[in-house]
Symmetry: C2
Subunit: 320 residues, 2 copies
């Protein structure tokens, strides 16, 4: 549809009435206006076609993931998501694609009452950048740097499913355009569930947290570096889905769990005496949580089986 | 430099010590933390190589423009810029390019004490998305929608230089990598000056404002639409630079001024009785301002010469 301007495009596909009283001015002027008091968490993540998702991915999945990976960053800070902006670069205007993309994006946004307050649409190779802004009402945030040796180490949900879907070549799943009809490992890649409620519930309980986007070993390494300690992971305790084990077998499943990103689970640490509070947070957020090891004084991340250390090559996602 | 991770990349090229007490946590965790009270203005703009700038543009110019176009949006709201995030997609790591890009970006940021608080670097076709957050201490913002028939219409600086540079094929200016050594029309394209001080000074004086990124006629049209009125532009009054007239002649210069974007001047309206206050704002911000017409009750934007309407085809930048 040549000639359709940026303004009309955003208005047509991405504008929703917001009943958020904090949004003084939404999409449509030079900037959005929001009224805030307190501490905000701000995160930005870009998905590039061919780098972060197959170009043939369903548009609904691309829209969902673009917001999900950012909500996951806020979850890792324990922040309540509130607003986001969208910078969408597309090669041409395909109304059906835009409808699906907006459906995936705004469907997830609605679930978390997160309002799209601004955007920019441009012409070029398919690239989606979302920036989210969240609130931390009591100014307390979960960072990567609060872990202490002796803290227990936990992971939410199961790991490795999304990486297996990529390895098995089923990540794009062009036929599965509807999240409700989508199933199995590839759904984990296409429609990741940010652990928003768990992150919020852990805000005053966990000592450190990160979302696993680049692989457990890589991301846990960031927690250790920021916390000035190391970590020990007991491989028997890694939570693996039955579908993953069925598709890959135990050993490959474990490797996907350790080095594959894209599951967007939360990896967090908590003092031993907070174990009950961790279970309560898991319970209140209806999110499975598994203890997978502990933080240790010696630097570096080590993996253990049956009480013996085992060498594991860290092959987390490299951005370059 | 294969293997250089996202984290190292951001740390190496884009991290600066910030002395902003409102930044509780900057680059390096899952999200940045800022402490705010009041009304914020949020804007996002993307520059795509080949669409918004020649791929051969100097990296310093690309970095400068990526922030400048966003600061210009904040200027049009009368907002004080405070923080920004960077989403940078690059095909490969070129250290010299990154150094220059960061120099252009952070050089402009430093001038406005605007802190880079977060970012994401990804691999793909060169695309730069910046999101800025500004403050409006008294909750008063300049919008597009406050204009009234009878208001005087103003433009800052001069118009058409950047469009002429593009038309003359000198916009990329690969040789000119230093803003201080750069001159002439093409400098207007490569290193646009956002009218931040003027926008802030006009916040309680102007009735409506927009920054001219898509061409005066197109952007003035947005003001008219939002304000529910029309506008009359007296073409004799359009501020044109001597360099533009020398390069293009009067008629083509005027056309560039009306339909070319990329100058990032402010177009604003103010009640007639605010004329002195407008001059004071121009003075205090050291920004030239010219009265170019007025808002009228009848819808649409018309152009006039010697008291007679003249037909002008609106050829503002089309995003698609």
């Amino acid at each position: 549809m040549p000639g359709l301007g940026e303004f009309e495009l955003i208005e047509r596909f991405f504008t929703r009435e917001s009943d958020d009283p904090a949004v003084a001015l939404g999409v449509g002027d030079d900037a959005a206006l929001i009224d805030v008091t307190g501490r905000l968490a701000v995160a930005v993540d870009t998905l590039v076609a061919g780098t972060h998702f197959p170009a043939s991915s369903p548009a609904r999945s691309i829209g969902h993931r673009a917001l999900a990976v950012n909500l996951s960053d806020l979850a890792a800070m324990g922040s309540v998501p509130r607003w986001f902006t969208l910078a969408l670069t597309i090669p041409s205007i395909d109304e059906r694609w835009l409808d699906e993309f907006a459906g995936g994006l705004l469907g997830l946004a609605d679930r978390y009452s997160t309002a799209l307050i601004g955007g920019d649409t441009t012409r070029g190779p398919l690239t989606v950048t979302v920036q989210v802004i969240g609130e931390l009402p009591d100014r307390i945030a979960l960072t990567r740097g609060g872990g202490r040796p002796g803290d227990d180490l936990y992971i939410s949900g199961t790991l490795g499913d999304a990486a297996a879907a990529i390895a098995l070549g089923s990540a794009d799943g062009a036929a599965a355009t509807d999240v409700s009809a989508d199933e199995g490992l590839s759904k984990r890649f296409r429609f990741p569930e940010p652990r928003v409620e768990l992150g919020i519930a852990l805000r005053t309980t966990a000592s450190a947290a990160i979302d696993v986007s680049d692989g457990l070993l890589a991301d846990l390494g960031h927690v250790c570096e920021a916390s000035g300690c190391g970590a020990r992971v007991d491989l028997e305790n890694l939570p693996l889905s039955p579908a993953l084990i069925a598709a890959c077998g135990d050993e490959r499943a474990r490797r996907h769990a350790l080095t594959g990103g894209d599951d967007y689970e939360l990896c967090f640490a908590a003092a031993r005496e907070s174990a009950d509070a961790v279970l309560a947070a898991a319970d209140s957020s209806s999110t499975p949580v598994t203890r997978i090891g502990r933080l240790v004084a010696d630097e570096g991340v080590t993996c253990w089986i049956a009480g013996q250390p085992v060498p594991i090559e860290n092959e987390g996602f490299r951005h370059f």
